[in-house]
Amino acid sequence: MYVSRDPEDVIVTYSLGSCVGVSLYDSTAKVGGMIHCMLPLSTTDVQKAAAKPCMFTDSGMTFFLQEIFNMGATRRNLTVKVAGAASLLCTKGLFKIGERNYTVLRKILWKNNLLIAAESVKGTESRTLSLYMDSGRTTIKSKGIEVDLR
């Protein structure tokens, strides 16, 4: 997780597979940040979650939102963009960690009255998510091509 108020920052999370990446940007307070979560629920390993809360979508997002609000962001001005949650070719549910990450994320955003403004999720693509702090522009790079996420 990384939060910033420096307009010169470009925050990047590389190669999201089944992990979920979330960018938050408040265009009024000019604060933003990004998180990269690997597994859906911190109950998988409570001890490890205490040491590394951002590894899990539930504890990571709760912590991330708290941090961004502490920096002056408000729910009303917050733009949420999401990427990742891909899956391998398999019908078996137990490997659908990407989808479970996404479900948990939606639930937490819903509880916080936040809507997803744009997303590039699921499928088999590996994605790199970038947030340009000067404008809040958010991009996705996949298969060598970078496009705006909007």
């Binding site: 597979g17 089944s18 390993d45 070719l89 137990l94 088999t124 590996s126």
Partner: protein, 284 residues
């Protein structure tokens, strides 16, 4: 020359790994030779000895007094770890290259090799499997065929991905259709050229189609899953992304479920973060 023959010809041009690494790999197949055997492997390889001593004294392993002999390093790190480090430092230069054909930046294939090897170890421990020590080596080597397909041959990955998507195939299946060979088979041929043990060839050859493998030691099954979980974590996923198939039969046979898979991913990530730097610097 068709693509398949071109690739097989290129495989012959790849220089063999150092003799000490080859000996270490053989030793990991048959670790009953005792401590003195391990030290003998390094006898004529002073550069490697220096590397091992540096690692033994690094923050990850060091506890107190600096050690200066190989015997002490073996005692501190354990014979298997020392051999694995030797194999790793020999393979790193081959696998740290950029793979344009897969759109993998320099170092990414090596990271994925290390993470898959660590994951295989974690699977072994979590599921309490009785697997040979060379499982780790198999993890390091599983994608070695990509160095040929991704750098020496002018492969257009978009063509392969488009073919896979249009025909409902996985990436390796499409590789086979378009090039006449996939990276798994290319890797197995390379290991044969290097005279490495046949048991090691099996998991490399069949890591994307483990149901076709005759190996019943379980190594291939574990490498198949470790590779899949590594790709899911985003490491080593190039242009082809997660376009790989998981064998449900293998997953069932190993007794995988949601709980143990997530524990394996979690534990692998923590171990990887602890030792990734060490392996990335290993041949410096």
């Amino acid at each position: 020359m068709n693509k398949r023959n071109e690739i097989i010809a290129k495989l012959k041009d790849i220089p063999a790994i150092p003799v000490s690494a080859s000996k270490a790999i053989n030793f990991l197949q048959n670790p009953s030779k005792g401590l003195s055997g391990v030290v003998n492997i390094f006898e004529y390889d002073p550069g490697m000895t220096a590397n091992i001593l540096k690692l033994a004294n690094s923050a990850s392993f060091a506890s107190g007094r600096e050690i200066s002999s190989l015997q002490e390093a073996v005692v501190r790190l354990g014979a298997t770890n020392v051999l694995q480090l030797l194999v790793s430092s020999s393979l790193a230069p081959y696998m740290k290259i950029q793979l344009k054909g897969y759109d993998l930046p320099p170092g990414e294939l090596w990271k994925s090799a290390v993470k898959t090897a660590i994951c295989a170890d974690v699977i072994k421990q979590t599921l309490k499997l009785d697997l040979p020590d060379f499982t780790f080596t198999a993890g390091l080597l599983h994608d070695i065929g990509k160095i040929v397909l991704g750098s020496f041959i002018d492969v257009n990955p978009t063509e392969i991905i488009d073919y896979a998507t249009a025909n409902g195939l996985s990436f390796p299946e499409a590789e086979s259709k378009i090039l006449g060979i996939d990276h798994a088979e290319a890797g197995a041929i390379l290991l044969r050229n290097w005279n490495l043990p046949e048991e090691l060839e099996q998991p490399v050859r069949w890591h994307h189609s483990p149901e076709q493998c005759e190996d019943d030691s379980g190594v291939t099954a574990v490498i198949h899953i470790a590779d899949a979980l590594t790709l899911m974590s985003g490491v080593g996923a190039g242009t082809e992304g997660l376009n790989y198939r998981i064998s449900e039969k293998v997953s069932d046979k190993l007794g995988l479920n949601t709980k143990n898979i997530e524990l394996i991913i979690c534990e692998t990530q923590i171990k990887y973060e602890e030792i990734c730097d060490l392996y990335m610097k290993v041949e410096d």
